[in-house]
């Protein structure tokens, strides 16, 4: 699993990345009550704003950690936005993306690097 400075995580399986927000991010945001999901098939660049989390306190953008095509979104979040609080790095994943360049993976933060950022 790799991380971004904007508190997303990404896990790679072949050329498909699964993306969500970190436990630190969900704690900072508070209770998530609504998720605006991206369209399947949308092409995005790394760092582009892809989804929006609405918490009881504020709205926060989710940025794509990599460039590619959105291949799947977590439909369960439509009625169960709190999954992001309950299981941010599991059932609360947000979207899957087919990576354009596997090389982008290497430039992301590893766990040690991310923890150093939020500690």
């Amino acid at each position: 699993m790799k991380y971004t400075e904007s508190h997303e995580w990404i896990e790679l399986s072949g050329k498909i990345g699964i993306v969500g927000v970190t436990d630190y991010a969900q704690k900072e945001l508070g209770e998530i009550v609504y998720v605006e999901l991206p369209e399947k098939g949308r092409r995005v660049s790394s760092g582009e704003e892809v989804a929006v989390l609405e918490s009881t306190k504020a709205a926060a953008d989710i940025y794509s950690p990599v460039s590619g095509t959105i291949v799947e979104v977590n439909e369960r979040l439509k009625d169960n936005a709190q999954l992001i609080n309950e299981s941010p790095q599991g059932e609360g994943w947000v979207f899957k993306i087919a990576l354009d360049h596997l090389s982008e993976w290497d430039s992301l933060l590893d766990e040690k690097g991310y923890l150093a950022l939020v500690m």
Partner: protein, 364 residues
């Protein structure tokens, strides 16, 4: 998601260490470091709607106004009627400046023929005191800001049960009335007021008393509640929050607090300007809306009718009781319950319907 940091001039309430020990997430609000939430906004909200919750609202200010002209002065400053109010009554009102904008919204308490006090918003403590002092010129009154005091709010359907264990006299305290008590020899005000619509009380008293009372409630089944749930609770009731629904540029008769404006009063500060505005086609109005799709209409977001911008959101949140996004909007034009509007949420038009206030009503 910036890490929280507090400036050196940020004030702490006497219960600060209690909040920290409870694991509260602290935020800066109106120059005070206050608990935003303990367990979470939604469970705290439900605790108040269904059971009973305790808030530290010591950031608010209490100012005593006494003297032979206290009633006349407070009546002149208030949109609501103060003259003739019974001893032991609490009256919600707005104060205007001469141009018709709102100085603050507050509660005026009558302790005696010549003795009153007011409880004002944290963000306006200094401004209100200056306003009072300036406007009191020529009136025989003395004005004293209470120091070394705190304020607690105990709110919810079980508030009376919890309060009775400490103060058996609570039965006498009906909504919008209050009772002066002594707690360990110190003055304590038990007031049938609040900001949640859930029923309950507020307590004004010495810091030493309130710390003890906080601990005694915490030893019961009372849950601590932060400012986050305080905001969702007040918004479900359609109550104004100064700086959002009322401000220097939002007059009370345009706001959800328009009902406080008593036109039958011979005069009050700002009345002339409010009367002109009342007849003007530029007078705006505040309405409640319920969003029909996902997303939350937050403060400042544009509100549209058939593609035309008619105003903006003044407060918006997710209502934990209704499980829908709700908002108060300030718009030009006349709209009624059931009308269809739209909110521009970051470039996306989301359908909304005008709703009657309060959004939420206690089941009988």
């Amino acid at each position: 998601m910036e890490p929280l940091s507090f400036g050196e001039d940020v004030r702490k309430t006497a219960l600060h260490s209690r909040h920290q020990a409870l694991g509260a997430k602290m935020v800066e609000f109106a120059g005070w470091e206050m608990p935003l939430q303990y367990k979470g906004i939604i469970p705290e909200h439900h605790a108040v709607r269904e059971r009973v919750g305790l808030f530290d609202v010591s950031h608010m200010g209490r100012v005593k106004v006494s003297g032979p002209d206290a009633e006349t002065l407070l009546d002149y400053l208030s949109t609501n009627l103060i003259t003739g109010k019974k001893i032991g009554s609490a009256t919600y009102t707005v104060w205007c400046h001469s141009e018709g904008g709102s100085v603050d919204d507050l509660i005026v308490y009558r302790e005696g023929e010549d003795r009153f006090f007011v409880v004002v918003n944290a963000s306006n403590r200094e401004k209100d005191l200056a306003h009072l002092i300036r406007e009191s010129s020529g009136y025989r009154v003395s004005i004293e800001a209470c120091k070394e005091e705190g304020i607690l709010a105990l709110q919810g359907p079980l508030a009376q049960n919890a309060m009775r264990t400490l103060f058996p006299d609570v039965e006498e305290v009906k909504p919008m009335t209050f009772l002066p008590l002594l707690y360990q020899g110190k003055e304590l005000i038990l007031s049938g007021t609040g900001y949640t619509g859930a029923g309950g009380y507020e307590l004004y008293g010495a810091i030493s008393s309130l710390i003890q009372i906080w601990d005694r409630f915490m030893a019961q089944v009372v849950e601590p509640v932060g400012l986050g749930a305080r905001d969702t609770l007040r918004l479900e009731m359609g109550f104004a929050l100064y700086g959002h629904e009322l401000s220097d540029t939002i007059s009370p008769n345009e706001s959800v607090s328009a009902w406080t404006v008593k036109w039958s009063k011979p005069d009050f500060l700002g009345k002339k300007r409010l009367a002109v505005l009342e007849q003007s086609s530029h007078k705006r109005q505040q309405l409640g809306i319920v969003l029909q799709e996902g997303g939350i209409g937050r403060e400042g977001y544009p509100v549209l009718k058939q593609g035309e911008i008619i105003g903006r959101v003044t407060s918006g949140t997710f209502s934990p009781s209704l499980r829908k996004a709700i908002a108060i909007i300030l718009v030009e034009g006349n709209f009624k319950e059931g009308d269809n509007l739209e909110v521009d949420i970051r470039g996306k038009r989301v359908a909304a319907e005008v709703a009657s206030l309060p959004f939420w009503r206690q089941k009988k």
